[in-house]
Symmetry: C2
Subunit: 423 residues, 2 copies
């Protein structure tokens, strides 16, 4: 959209205030970056869908029309097809989440569900609580509603419960509209919240009467370690978001939000105004895929691929990255989160990295408040192993350059030792 900034905008003073607050996403620029030839994309959160049985999917799509006829091409209800919601309820039950189809609403991807969370709960200036770092798309969705975002730090066991308690104490009962968390293979951190912390989170949320939103796109992408029960299975008040994007295909834009019925009624109102209903065609396609193909077998293959790619990324990081860098060790999902010395500014470094043929997500995109400058999200989901290795190698060159420069400055006395100035 570069050209739009060149053309005179005679409506400049007509836009709503919220437009000023909308976070520009790196996602868009990253998509553009990836589509350049020769750039290795460690940036985007696109799942690997190469294991999908294309012939079977093609047959599914055809059956959507031949078996369901005009119904698949007509409008549907805002809550989603009862057949789809019943199927989702069955899938959730495997995870010990036992809900009625009426506690489920189908949304146009989890991104739309996140938008609805903002729409239903956030007045401008309201506090909300997120993990730091958090999913950049969620921060972007919420930003349209102008919240005041409180960030609770994470470690290898997930969100810090001590820090959360401190925040909740400071804000007081009902002092925030909700706590937004991705407990499994968090985006971008790649870490998983322990069972103990999940229990504590629910206790604290109950004590301070704060709504919990559990975003779980990656729960079925565990390739190592023990499954940990979702928050929703331990507390029916939790709002739970699930999606087909990482277990079937993002191209469907099909997800679900599970919530207490009064909340579902509010979301339904939002969905009426925001999109009327979800695509009936895509809902039926999902029904076909999840009932007529061996989707669990396909997912097993994807998990094996992710595991190899995670291994490739971790061993490349060990081989090429400087000892000053640290990173997470995900047991599932799509992402590794790398932290560099504090004098790095990964947003500034991005252009050099792209020139050197590799893309990542700067950590500052994953914080609402300018934190995360020296860190980055690396996705191991999309590129094959040899490209991951080469991408990490290319990135290490850019990092080594910066470190050398920093040391030279330091030696010349041009920088204080503990400088946090970005390079």
């Amino acid at each position: 959209m570069a050209s739009s900034y060149l053309s005179f905008d005679e409506w400049e003073d007509v836009y709503a205030d919220r437009i000023e607050h909308l976070r520009r996403s790196a996602v868009r620029d990253l998509f553009a970056a990836i589509s350049r030839p020769n750039v290795i994309g460690l940036s985007g959160g696109s799942p690997d869908i190469s294991s999908l049985p294309l012939d079977e999917v093609a047959e599914c799509t055809k059956r959507v029309v031949t078996e369901n006829g005009l119904k698949s091409l007509q409008y549907g209800g805002s809550d989603g097809r009862i057949e789809t919601r019943t199927m989702v309820a069955g899938m959730l039950a495997e995870d010990d989440i036992h809900v009625d189809p009426d506690e489920i609403i189908i949304t146009g991807g989890s991104q739309q569900a996140l938008d609805f969370m903002g729409r239903v709960f956030i007045n401008p200036g309201d506090k909300i609580i997120v993990e730091g770092p958090s999913y950049l798309g969620a921060l972007q969705a919420f930003s349209a509603y102008q919240p005041d975002v409180e960030v609770v730090p994470m470690d290898d066991e997930g969100m810090s419960m001590d820090a959360l308690e401190e925040t909740l104490k400071r804000l007081g009962p009902r002092g925030a509209k909700f706590i937004y968390t991705i407990p499994n293979f968090q985006n971008p951190a790649g870490v998983t919240m322990t069972l103990e912390r999940r229990r504590r989170l629910l206790e604290l949320a109950h004590e301070y009467h704060i709504q919990v939103i559990e975003d779980d796109p990656y729960g079925r992408l565990r390739f190592e370690g023990e499954h940990i029960p979702p928050l929703k299975s331990m507390d029916p008040n939790v709002i739970y978001l699930g999606t087909t994007s990482k277990i079937f295909a993002p191209g469907l834009r099909l997800a679900w939000c599970v919530a207490p019925k009064p909340v579902i009624a509010k979301i339904n109102l939002c969905e009426q105004g925001a999109s009327l209903c979800c695509s009936a065609f895509n809902q039926i396609l999902a029904e076909q895929y999840f009932t007529r193909t061996d989707w669990k077998g396909t997912l097993e293959k994807s998990r094996a691929i992710y595991r190899s790619r995670r291994d490739a990324m971790i061993s490349a990081l060990e081989e090429f990255f400087p000892p000053e860098a640290t990173w997470t060790h995900p047991q599932g999902g799509l992402f590794v989160y790398v932290t560099l010395p504090p004098y790095f500014d990964t947003e500034q470094m991005m252009s050099a990295a792209l020139e050197n043929g590799v893309a990542y997500v700067p950590g500052s995109n994953c914080f609402p408040n300018g934190e995360g400058k020296s860190s980055m999200r690396l996705a191991f989901s999309y590129e094959p192993e040899e490209k991951i290795r080469e991408g990490v190698r290319r990135l290490s060159e850019v990092i080594a350059d910066r470190m050398e420069l920093y040391r030279a400055f330091l030696k010349a006395g041009a920088l204080p030792e503990a400088s946090s100035e970005g390079m």
Copy 2:
């Protein structure tokens, strides 16, 4: 969702203020009504899609996957596929709208585009201008952003330009964020804005520096009279909304918004936060349908069907409705708008109508301010001719009952002659 109102909502005081302002749509309840057996649905705006060549559509869906493979199942850009936008640009050119694909963004149905219009332009309390009556879904979409809605009355030639000028004078230059209009076969009124008024609207919009949003879902559904050029073809500043819903299938949730590039950039930001991107699958399916089938031939069949159904509705109204009722004579589209004597309250009358086996949209749903109580929208698009006739007959019974009651009250001196009390 009736049950949701029975269950205790412990989050009642946590919702955002805008939830209070969200219009509950009759749409949802109407969908529920239609799905009752024996109720003739003159309410919903569902197009007739019986002319769709299902075998060909099934082949198209299959080709989406076999010819495009994984691309159809992966994420795409927020602006929409360049192939889809180029195709849309070609379709628009047939209507003398000459734009670059970069001036087009693909949205999840026009409903999402309407939501984005609110999101981009409306601060709480901002004035916007709509026709009275107007599309209930647009009023609902805008309501999430808490505007102050000015209603400009219509007659058989569309929005009254004298009334518009009066409103604009009162509000002053830039006194409203936009004028929202459906110039062709308006929803719900069924009337079409004359060329003269279109020109005058653009003059006034220019003079008062107000954005114009032209919603044109029905433009290709003319079955009588001369085509009138869209506003967008006469003024590049107009924001134009088009959709596949009435020329292919609503089940795709696929539409487009055409706007000056700076506005497209803002909408793109909104789309990133609200839904990330549109379904790549559905975009490719639309490309397949509009390039590989005789969609214009199919549409010709649909128009012939709509014409017969319009004729069936008009002649049934002439046969069964009382002389005090008046109605519009659409030359295309899906709707006839009926006005009853002022003592009618069509919202109150709805339950009696449903009991008598017929559904419609009460006129008050098409106004933001309680107007339209004695009118109703009747859709001739969905039911076959004999059902339309029977539906109008059933409705006339309910109306006759009310009139008889009213006359009895009047005779007994229980009501003043010009009462506007609803019955």
